[in-house]
Amino acid sequence: MQARRMALIAAMLASGAFSVARAENASVTIDNFSFNPARITVAAGSKVTWSNRDDIPHTVTDAADPKTFRSPPLDTGDAFSHVFATPGTYRYFCSLHPHMQGTVVVK
């Protein structure tokens, strides 16, 4: 049993299926009507979590059409997470305060 599991893991490593292992979780805070940091770079498969620390609700909304991620309204203290599986540059904004913008670069 143990041997079979080891063999499976070895096979997955060899096939690159564990590239997700390099992914890291990243955090963005929402303070003072801005995303901090406004630009982050993460590995593919990373989960990014936004936390609203403002007294005013905000959203995290993909700027592209069609939208691949879109949070519900985040009240004070609420958080939203999204896993970025595919490399690319993802611009997003707050759909309530569209001057608030951020970027996630996925490598």
Binding site: F33, D54, D55, I56, D75, Y92, S95, P98, H99
Partner: protein, 316 residues
């Protein structure tokens, strides 16, 4: 203290028609117009008391009640809305309408709408609402439109009252990244049709949540396609545009169009660019909150084609 100022300045010929159209006054600050530029001074001897109403149309504007907000500087926004409604009752005179320029709620929740509606009904005035961005967070605004803009499924509509044409607009949906408020092509086409057959002499009152003019682009305080809406209004002799959203009084005159933004009944926001963000002003001196919240009474004097707006804070 309600005061209406009528300017004693001799206007240039191009301004004369406009100055007959309207005069501005704000409580504590007196607005006058010189060469189209609004100027303010403290209320004083040049201010005269409002004349008794006679055959005029008056209405109340309130804005940004944000029911559901509970943080400094105001943890009881239902109470301050209640005070605003009591003030509206006190100053309403012969007003029969109440216009709410949006952000009725903080998070579009049914209980928040219930609370706001219950308090506002206490004014005994016929309410007309437009949505703020905080009111359309659920189901693309359907819950707001069903309750507050009945018959207008997209939140924009018009009606006539005593010869004045009122137009309520929705500029709080379909925002684009980096943009400001948005009316959209469909609504603009409707507006053009709505105004097309009206005589240029008819007074027009437009109300929408976000300012239709650009107050401050860096904070999104304006409407990207507002200029197109204003182009349809330019041929009218007396146009008043009432907005909210920025939680402070701002006024501007452009041709025959007068712009006015109302205070919030919930919390103040900073003047453009004077803070790192447009968030609530939290560090008000003790006891000063009610001096920066308020109600506006708009008086449209049909016979004299003159309109006045008086902003009243909830306390001095």
């Amino acid at each position: 203290m309600e005061r209406v100022h009528e300017t004693g300045n001799e206007p240039g010929p191009e301004r004369r028609g406009f100055l007959k159209c309207m005069a501005w006054a704000g409580t504590g600050v007196l607005w006058t117009l010189s060469g189209g530029v609004p100027r303010s001074m403290l209320l004083g001897s040049r201010a005269i008391a409002a004349e008794p109403a006679g055959g005029e149309l008056a209405f109340i504007q309130i804005s940004d009640s944000h029911i559901g907000f509970s943080a400094p500087p105001n943890t009881d926004v239902a109470a301050t809305l209640g005070e605003a409604i009591a003030e509206a009752v006190r100053i309403k005179g012969n007003a029969s309408l109440l216009i709410h320029t949006g952000d009725v709620s903080h998070l579009s929740r049914a209980a928040q709408f219930d609370t706001a509606e219950g308090i506002i009904q206490g004014a005994g005035l016929e309410p007309h609402y437009v949505p703020g961005e905080h009111d359309v967070l659920e189901e693309d605004g359907r819950t707001f439109f069903e309750r507050f803009t009945k018959g207008a499924t997209k939140g924009y509509y018009s009606f006539d009252r005593q010869g004045v044409h009122f137009v309520g607009l929705n500029n709080v949906q379909d925002f684009k990244a980096g943009g400001m408020g948005s009316l959209g092509n469909e609504q603009l086409e409707w507006l053009e049709r709505d105004l097309r057959a009206r005589p240029g002499s008819q007074p027009i009152v437009v109300f929408a949540h976000i300012p239709l003019w650009t107050v401050y682009r860096d904070w999104g305080w304006g409407t990207d396609d507002g200029a197109r809406a204003l182009s349809y209004l330019r041929r009218f002799g007396c146009v008043t545009v009432l907005n909210g959203h920025i939680h402070q009084i701002m006024q501007k005159i452009e041709g025959n169009v007068a712009f006015h933004t109302a205070r919030s009944t919930a919390f103040p926001q900073p003047a453009p660019g004077t803070a790192s963000s447009p968030g609530p002003i939290k560090d008000l001196p003790a006891g000063r909150l009610r001096s920066v919240l308020g109600v506006a009474r708009v008086r449209e004097v049909a016979g004299a084609a003159r309109l006045a707006i008086v902003d009243t804070p909830l306390s001095a």
